[in-house]
């Protein structure tokens, strides 16, 4: 095997399994994970490929730090062409699966074609087999994981799989690993389902290569000290999980209520991280090598599971007008089991609620199911289940918010950017995050450039969320840095305590390549631009760098941010300029030459 791990290319149509060496030049320039996989997809995928056809490629990719001892370094990426919007899909997940893939000696899996029957892949160190998964098809992610581990006869192996949502090609389907970790967004689970691939089971026994162990130890010691003394990574996230954000985002008036018809929920504390910790938390969960432990293990009645994260509380809670945590937790469990993205699932139900309350969806269409009214907790769990099973009216929900609203003639109710459902921060109250949603290459996503950190949380410095003139600069920097972190194999949450210097030092120790902070950011910029090129090649109109009209034209009606709208039109030209793109948002020849992408 190559010292940094090898690439395995598996054609599910022909059954061929080929080992390939990774290219160290590409690794240096695109780091790994999100960056390297996007480069492969850009080079290999013909323009116009149907995302759910055998011709699409599905790539699982580690970063050069995955599984190698850096803190929170269990991350891997799933990269493909999204069936939700036909643009780049790159979803990140933690847990232990990625680290196990590294221990098996693999850096990346490239999946092509379509299996003739339900299949799974069994990777046992350097042995890679395509196996029959007929016995596991139809199982939810938890049952499938247990039975697959029994089938391979090794309960220490790690499973990444799809649930019924992915099998039935829901465009909101996630890839689930370690039962409850999700590469959630952009419908990557549907692409896996379209290939008749139920799971990838991995077991490894080697220690992943680190180029300079002494340097790694030194960098690790510095980083651990920062993580242990930072109040976010040492106290806030471990104690309350990501749900600690509920109250502060609500207090600033940026907590999207009833499908963004409002931005403040007076009862928000009843669904906060504080309430979750007090009434439902049984223990914390930590991914591979993570000193933070933000994961939540919870119990409701006789049901125990993981989550919810802040985003899931938002989507099934405030966005659907639901106050209490019990149904939100239940909906979150269902998403883990059926393999659904929680953000897209909840926001799609919220859009359906608006369509229903305004009379566009008729009661008869619900076939006796609970009415899609804001605040109806029963509707949230019931329709999440139907969406996960892709049955009845759930078939329409499983298409996602944009397709649903368009079908009913009202795409303006779809709270999406590039057809991907937006997360839990109102871009009217927090200007920079709105620009980030509008320009994110995969669509409405907060973790492409999490400017909420400086705009609301004051990290690394305190920016006024209402001010917009400075935000293009921040958005660009955060987007580039995030692309580098995602590609490294480390968790983005470490960035509350660590900076570009730290990530560059980890990359240098692990690979021996001469990274510094500027080089890491440059690699991030390169990744951002190749994602942009991918989308443009697929026909993206740069007019799609926008937000729903509600955020641009309807002032927030109440709460602390009352009266605010997004200033996207003022921010976008400056953002394009900073990116070195032309006035229409097309990367210039000069910029592409500078990045080696010409």
């Amino acid at each position: 095997m190559d010292k940094f791990g090898s690439i395995v290319r598996i054609n599910l149509t022909t059954g061929s399994v080929k080992k390939e060496s990774l290219c160290e030049k590409t690794m240096k320039e695109f780091i790994g994970g999100r960056g390297y996989a996007t480069k492969v997809l850009y080079d290999e995928l013909p323009k116009g490929t149907d995302p759910l056809s055998p011709e699409n490629k599905l790539i699982f990719a580690n970063g050069p730090l995955t599984g190698k001892g850096a803190p929170a370094s269990g991350r891997y990426m799933v990269v493909t062409k999204s069936p939700l919007n036909n643009y780049i899909a790159s979803s990140n997940s933690g847990g232990f699966w990625g680290a196990e893939l590294a221990r098996a000696g693999w850096f990346m899996i490239i999946l092509e074609g379509k299996a003739q029957k339900p299949s799974y892949i069994w990777i046992n160190d350097d042995k890679v087999e395509i196996r029959d998964a007929s016995a596991f098809w139809g199982l939810d992610s938890h049952e499938a994981t247990d039975k697959l581990l029994a089938a391979v006869g090794d309960d220490k192996a790690k499973v990444a799989c799809i649930g019924p949502a992915g099998e039935r090609l829901s465009k909101l389907a996630a890839v689930m690993n370690d039962k409850n970790r999700a590469a959630g967004r952009s419908g990557v689970g549907a692409v896996m389902g379209s290939k008749n691939l139920k799971a990838i089971v991995v077991k490894g026994s080697s220690r992943p290569h680190v180029e300079n162990q002494d340097e790694m130890k030194s960098v690790l010691a510095t980083a651990m000290e920062k993580l242990k003394t930072n109040p976010v990574t040492s106290q806030g996230l471990p104690t309350y999980g990501t749900a600690v954000l509920v109250n502060i985002i609500n207090q600033i008036g940026g907590y999207p209520y009833k499908n963004w018809q409002g931005a403040h929920m007076p009862e928000a504390d009843s669904q906060s991280g504080e309430t979750l910790a007090r009434d439902f938390l049984t223990k914390r969960y930590s991914c591979f090598g993570c000193p933070i432990g933000c994961g939540r293990v919870t119990k409701v009645g006789d049901r125990e599971g993981e989550g919810p994260e802040y985003e899931s509380i938002f989507s099934f809670g405030v966005c659907c007008g639901v106050e209490h945590l019990e149904p939100i937790i239940e909906a979150n469990y269902l998403c883990n089991e059926y393999g659904l993205d929680t953000i897209s699932a909840g926001v799609t139900i919220a859009a359906a609620m608006e369509l229903y309350e305004k009379g566009y969806i008729k009661k008869e269409e619900l076939e006796g199911g609970p009415e899609l009214k804001f605040g109806n907790a029963e509707a949230v769990t019931y329709w999440t289940k139907k969406m996960g099973l892709v049955e009845g009216f759930g078939k329409k929900l499983a298409m996602g918010s944009y397709a649903l609203c368009e079908m009913y003639g009202h795409p303006e109710f779809s709270m999406t950017a590039k057809k991907l459902e937006m997360p839990a921060y109102d871009g009217r109250a927090v200007q920079g995050i709105g620009l980030n949603y509008a320009t994110s290459n995969r669509g409405g996503c907060h973790v492409r450039g999490y400017t909420t950190s400086p705009e609301v949380l004051g990290l690394p410095q305190k920016l006024d969320p209402a001010e917009y003139q400075s935000k293009p600069t921040w958005v660009k920097i955060f987007q580039d840095l995030t692309a580098a972190i995602d590609s490294s194999g480390m968790c983005l949450f470490t960035s509350f305590a660590l900076g570009a210097d730290d990530y560059a030092a980890f990359l240098k120790a692990a690979t021996g390549f001469e990274y510094d902070a500027a080089e890491a950011l440059k690699a991030g910029e390169r990744i951002w631009n190749i994602e942009r090129l991918f989308n443009l090649r697929e026909g993206m109109d740069t007019a799609e760098d926008t937000l729903p009209s509600r955020l641009l034209n309807e002032p927030i009606p109440e709460g602390p941010a009352k009266g605010m709208v997004s200033h996207l039109p003022e921010m976008l030209p400056e953002y394009y300029k900073l990116r070195g793109w032309d006035a229409k948002g097309i990367p210039t020849t000069g910029k592409l030459e500078e990045l080696g992408l010409q």
Binding site: Q235, G458, L459, P560
Partner: protein
């Protein structure tokens, strides 16, 4: 009457989610008043010497005091003040 809300670990020091206060004219004055009410642990969390600590986020009617005048931010009857520790998530 000024309404004061406490969140996350700040509640460990106040043992209540919210309270009311009157008489203070600035954020700093209000926080000093609350220190007298809740004691030295609360004070240690909220103040670093004479300065409001960087370990807390203080909002006045939803606006961070960094953007409203800092410790001298005026407060008046009807205002809502929120006190958080520095937190993060995603």
């Amino acid at each position: 009457m000024i309404k004061v809300l406490f969140f996350a670990t700040i509640r460990d020091y106040t043992n209540e989610k919210e309270t009311t206060a009157e008489g203070a004219s600035s954020i700093e004055g209000l926080l000093r008043f609350l220190c007298a009410r809740y004691g030295p642990e609360f004070e240690t969390e909220v103040f670093e010497g004479e300065k409001i600590s960087d370990r807390v986020i203080v909002l006045v009617n939803g606006k961070h005091i960094a953007h409203t005048g800092g410790p001298l931010t005026p407060v008046k009857d009807g205002d809502t003040i929120a006190v958080f520790p520095v937190i993060g998530g995603g």
